[in-house]
Structures are given as C-alpha cells and as structure tokens.
Subunit: 173 residues, 2 copies
Amino acid sequence: MEVLAAIDTLRTVRRFSDRPVDPDALRTILDAGRRAGSSKNLQRWAFIAVRDRALLGELGAVGPWANHLSGAAVAVALVTPDPRAADAPLSIVFDVGRAAENMVLAAWALGIGSCPATVYEQDVARRLLGYPASHHCEYILSFGYPADPADLVRPNRARGRRRLEEIVHHDRW
Amino acid sequence: MEVLAAIDTLRTVRRFSDRPVDPDALRTILDAGRRAGSSKNLQRWAFIAVRDRALLGELGAVGPWANHLSGAAVAVALVTPDPRAADAPLSIVFDVGRAAENMVLAAWALGIGSCPATVYEQDVARRLLGYPASHHCEYILSFGYPADPADLVRPNRARGRRRLEEIVHHDRW
C-alpha cells in the first residue's frame, strides 16, 4: 500500500475478527514502531505485545473506552519513562506518538485495523502488565483484522476532520 | 512509495537543496498531518507553514539544534493548546506526534526530507510566528529536498536503533 493512500484511508477499527495476527505481521508492526525517530535518538519506549486471551479480556478494564482491547487479536502497550515526572520533557510523549503512528500505518498496509486506548486506571494496567514503578503506560493499541472487512475500504466521513484551511496558517498565525 | 519501505528507509535530513517545495507537495504534507487520528477526534493542532526566507532564517534561533530550519524550503510549526497547563492531558502531545509522523512519511514518499526542531526559546518562536498566548509550539519541522540526494537512499546505520528484542515484551514485562 502506498504511503499517501494509507494515510488517507486509515480508519479506527474497534471490532475485530477471530483471525489471529501471525508472528511475522506482529513483528512488522512492532518493528515499524522501533524504527521511529526520537529526540536525541533516545528511543524511550518499550512495547508489551499481549496475545493472551485472558489478559486481553482484563485489559478492557483500563479505561471507560478501552473495551476494544478485549476483542483485539493483539494489544500493544506503549511503555515510557513517567511523562508526568517534574523534569520529564514533552518529547517522551511526542516520540511515542510517532512510534504509534508508524505501527498503525504498518498494520493498515497489512489489512490490520487498530484503535488506541487511553489508560485511565493506571493501577490496573500496571498490575496486569507488570512494568516497573519507574515506567508509565498511557496508551495501549488494539490490533486485529476487522470484524467487518468493509472497514478497510470505507470512505472517510464527511467533516470527520476540520478542513485544511481551518488549521493552516502561512508564515504567521 | 510503499508504507513499510517508507517507515524503514526514513532518515532525518538536516541539509536541504535550494529546490522549492511546490504548493501541491506542501499541501500533501499538511493534509497528511490533518488526517491523523486524535483523542476524541479533537484535532488540537494548527500548522504554520513558513516559506518566507527571512523568517526561516530567524527560526534557526528557536533552539540550540534548530539551525536546520534556516536552510529548509519550508518549516511547519506544530501549534497546540499549552501541554504544560495544569489540566492538560498527555494526548495533546501524543496526537501531534502522530500528525508529525504522517507529515514526515508523506514528505518522504515525495522525495522530501525532514527534521524536527525542539523550541527551547519559546519567546522567540512566539514573536516570530504570532500564535496566541493560549497556544504553544514545542516542535517545528523542517522540510526540503536533500542537499545530498544520497540521503534518500542511504542505508540505515548499524545499531541506529535498539534491537527489537531489547524493547519488546510478550504478555507481561
């Protein structure tokens, strides 16, 4: 799939089929995240790839809109140093956003949909995933083949995004 | 260019040729940012596209490693609500990271290189770009055709990224 087509057609998918994501596809997705650029090349990220069905079921409890994780073929938790620490630079979160976008675009190119979940219940995520106290998980991405294959080719919603003219300034605000 | 190839070959480019980025290419890059997903579809971003040469020259002063902005064909300032406000969610910065990655990948597919600059001198950026006091600009992206076309096809540095096995955990940390 071409880059521009992937960016233009990417849609959030929240309902997934039972078809597993095979290890090669998962590796391609994770490797796309690994390849992302980062501030001073610090790569302040770790990815926990969850395929255990019982664990996926429990991950749905990390937030009020995180139910899609329970039905995912695989979830990828994005773990970073604590971005709320007093001296934490904004780049921790900016960089993991770049890595996440690489992952969802790589998945999309393989016909695999995705949806990000925000972790509201930090204690639940930490208990389930076991990352150290020094670390933090704000986002967990669902991945899987769409339950409805039409999701892959559905046209963008009209007005799903603001128009370019509403968000772009030239030379000065 | 294929998605996976773009992700795998994308390199930071800091030195640009004099060749301008035409309006269609610029629009494609900005539109790729516009298309990014965002928390609750809030799209908390504005993009200031700078092509004025005098202004580009001055933008190089926003930080100690921001000189590449002075030689860019176009710079795109990523403007958001203040991510350091007391109640600001992390998603402001995560989302603009997703938008930035879309832009640099779209540019790369057009043969256009890029480099992000961190704004250390907030007052300078605000004076030059004129965004409102309610807003913040942490990152400005340089775009341009590489001064050295070999940048587009240079192999990845060995050990430029940690190995996948160093950053991936399965099911639990």
